[in-house]
Amino acid sequence: MSTAVYVPSRIKSRIRMLLPWLLLVVLAVLPIAGLTPNLIRLFFITFVWVTTSLGWNLLGGFTGQVSFGFAVFYGLGAYTAALMIDRGVNPYLSFLAAGLVPGLASFLIGLPTFRLRGPYFAIATIGVSEATRVIMNNLEITGGASGYRIMEHVPFRQVEHYYTALGMAALAVAASLLIVHSKFGMALRAIKQDEEAAADLGVNPYANKLAIHAVAAIFTGVAGGVFARYAAFINPQGVFAFQTSVYILLMPVIGGIGTVWGAVLGGVVFGMVEEQLVANFPQIHLLLYGALLILIILVEPDGIAGLLGKIFRRLRIPGRKDDGADSGSRKADEVLRRTAGG
């Protein structure tokens, strides 16, 4: 290593392990430090998106199963929480149910669709998602297309929502890291690379895909529920929209597919800029996402995390040539894995 300042690697890794906790503390103190309501709202939305991004990333990033149907989980979570909170159930109990219902639904969707591979799986998830939206548009008890209003008979406290969402996002990060560094996570990475080879070493690809699909659905569903309570009004054109599915997919792709912190980064960037884009370019904001997606795929398939990984490497080892066999994704993964302390 040619770094000017010598830092023993153990201390370095200690610092890396501490970073996420430090971040958590800072975020926990922010509202007390006097964050404006508008910023609290922005952070809240960001935490919700980070959670869905982490959920999608488990299935799409780590396991390589690209789904366009996560709006189903988000919407089911939102409606489950909405119906329960409206009937006076404890909101946190409702959030649990908001995870459970999409978790169960994920099996209904996964059992047939995981028989398909690659693009066929992706197309099937679009079908399921659209069908669900149409059904919800016509379902009487949820108000159909006109949406559902949640009446909660307690005063609205924005800070409570902030902490709920922060806790949820932190749990999603922790769960993702645990999964990624476990036996289960290893099977997922193997499935992404070569399903048959994984099966020849004792991994059951179908069962593992179903399992991670359920975990991803729970993340996304809880996020939907937490959002619904805050928004107090949801409708199928919002939470069940194809657009929602695309947003959820876009975030980990922006941030860096297949890495936990990449997914977090994607959620943060998306959460922070999305509103600005919608406000400033109402007609063409979707077009911008499309252009961004193409740009990322062409220029930096490993997203912001991949880009940062490359930059860090350049800074750390000046003059060393990039060797072609080593892809940016792996570098990013290595960098991020080290940051994660795993």
Binding site: M186, A187, A190, Q193, D194, A197, G202, A325, D326
Partner: protein
């Protein structure tokens, strides 16, 4: 089939060697006949459950998980093989032992994409071995290797047998088969042509005919021994 033997399979291209392996390992379903292991019928079982039943295979064309290190490749097999270890540290330790045993410890922390073909072939064997199989199916593990690499691979096979596993071994290189196998079966067009000890096979007229043509013409240039 007797245990703790190396069972060799040879035959011309398209004789059905790899197909036979794929059927035993569960990748293909046999259209007729049954496959039994220790008297238990395992026909039509999925590959992952066969691994847990003690049957593991290597691939003729190597299929390493390229974005994983060599160690991680083997660790996966330790996790999901017959030992079924959940603890990652324990699995990693065991994987290191396997790598040292097969002689891949020097590249343990290299990405599987970046090691030589010879090492990737060896990794195929190491992974299959790490599942702790009773029956190891080795499909062309010496294909494309140098003479030295081939020799050390054959050494490895014999050491695996000494550890108590039974090996089914398919190879194009007849010399390699004859050198290590206790028993050889010759396949042609999906049928058994001959079977016996290596020395018997080499002199079998039906085998010579399949390999060299009817007249035993020397122009074909490929000798059976």
């Amino acid at each position: 089939m007797p245990e703790q033997h190396i069972y060799g399979f040879i035959g011309p291209n398209g004789a059905g060697k790899t197909t036979l392996f794929s059927m035993i390992a569960g990748a293909l379903q046999p259209s007729a006949g049954r496959i039994r292991s220790h008297g238990k019928d395992v026909t039509g079982k999925r590959p992952f459950s066969l691994v847990r039943a003690g049957i593991a295979r290597t691939h003729q064309v190597v299929r390493p998980f390229r974005a994983m290190t060599v160690l991680e490749n083997v660790q996966l097999a330790v996790h999901f093989g017959r030992k079924n270890i959940t603890n990652t540290a324990a699995a990693r330790d065991h994987a290191r032992q396997v790598l040292a045993w097969v002689g891949l410890d020097r590249v343990a922390d290299t990405l599987a994409a970046n090691i030589s073909l010879g090492d990737q072939k060896r990794l195929e064997v190491a992974r299959a071995l790490a599942t702790d199989p009773e029956l190891l199916l080795c499909d062309e593990i010496c294909g494309g290797l140098t003479r030295n690499e081939t020799r050390s691979m054959l050494d490895l096979l014999q050491r695996i047998r000494q550890q108590g596993a039974t090996i089914m071994y398919v190879e194009h290189d007849v010399k390699a088969i004859m050198a290590v196998c206790d028993h050889v079966m010759v396949l042609n067009y999906g049928e058994k042509l001959a079977e016996g000890k290596p020395e018997e096979i080499q002199n079998d007229p039906a085998v010579i005919e399949a390999y060299l043509g009817k007249a035993g013409s020397k122009k074909r240039g490929r000798s059976v021994a």
